[in-house]
């Protein structure tokens, strides 16, 4: 099946003008399936870590958002144990004007600004609210343990 022009264009641009700290490479045997890495933003507990993700563009993309999941373990109130991400632009606030690039930037921004009031990982969010310093330290420890460059 031919790949829609929109996907080809996005892929070409991701290759030609990559976003600093983010990479997205399609699988040779499935051009809708990308291996992604995102560097943890500086001055966040994820600094110095490189996180692996996977991204898939479903049949009705861009009418529906891409599916994205972390493959690297991460301690974050909006990311659950299976790497699923709670982010408005991946759900109700998706718009076909958004792109792979903008979504990955939003995920990188989410690492820099955890939102424990809209949690996906309830235990993590609870700890984030009760003892933020300890939670941030755990996030740092996990980054060192699982996401070391």
């Amino acid at each position: 099946m031919a790949l829609p022009k929109r996907i080809i264009k996005e892929t070409e641009r991701l290759m030609a003008e990559p976003v600093p700290g983010i990479s997205a490479v399609p699988h040779e045997d499935n051009l809708r399936y990308f291996d992604v890495t995102i560097d943890g933003p500086s001055q966040s507990p994820y600094e110095q870590g490189t996180f692996k993700l996977e991204l898939f563009l479903p049949d009705d993309y861009p009418m529906t958002p891409p599916k994205v999941r972390f493959l690297t373990k991460i301690y974050h109130p909006n990311i659950d144990k299976l790497g699923r991400i709670c982010l408005d632009v991946l759900k109700s606030n998706w718009s076909p004007a958004l792109q792979i690039r903008t979504i990955l930037l939003s995920i990188q921004a989410l690492l820099g600004a955890p939102n424990p009031d809209d949690p996906l990982a309830n235990d993590v969010a609870k700890r984030w609210k009760e003892d933020q310093n300890a939670a941030i330290q755990t996030a740092r420890d996990w980054t060192t343990q699982y996401a070391k460059k």
Partner: protein
């Protein structure tokens, strides 16, 4: 032909369907370890079909989805002892050459497809009266 959903996103879809209980009532399944990012090992249960020796019995199974799933079917193993021609009497393993959906595996089949078919297989006229081990014994 549509986009080919990769293994992990397919398993996430199955997980969400299983968690929400959207599937068939008499079968259920879930991740064995909720922390397993690879989502390889699953638990399944089948409620024995009515009007058979299996009525009111609950069967536990273990399902292993390898790297190649869903291009190749998962390994399915009964934990609860059962006497069925497609199940190895020594270890509970389902023989992939004897259950039609495993013989003619298709990429859009799911773990639920297998559980439903096993339940139907248990209820077949030639299987529904087979003598069974005592209830609740394990392989």
């Amino acid at each position: 032909m549509g986009a080919k959903v990769p293994r992990n996103f397919r398993l996430l879809e199955e997980l969400e369907k299983g968690e929400k209980g959207l599937g068939a009532e008499a079968c259920s399944y879930g991740l064995e370890d909720g922390d397993d990012l690879l989502m390889s090992n699953w638990n399944g249960t089948i409620l024995g079909p009515p009007h058979s020796v299996h009525e009111n019995r609950i069967y536990s199974l273990r399902i292993h989805c390898g790297d190649q799933y869903p291009d190749v079917p998962p390994d399915v193993i009964f934990i609860t002892k059962i006497n069925l021609p497609c199940v190895d009497a020594k270890n509970g393993k389902v023989d992939a050459t004897k259950l039609p959906c495993l013989v003619q595996w298709k990429r859009d089949f799911t773990m639920e497809t297998i559980l439903i078919e096993l339940r139907r297989y248990m209820a077949l006229p030639q299987h529904k009266k087979l003598p069974q081990p005592p209830e609740g014994t394990q392989f």
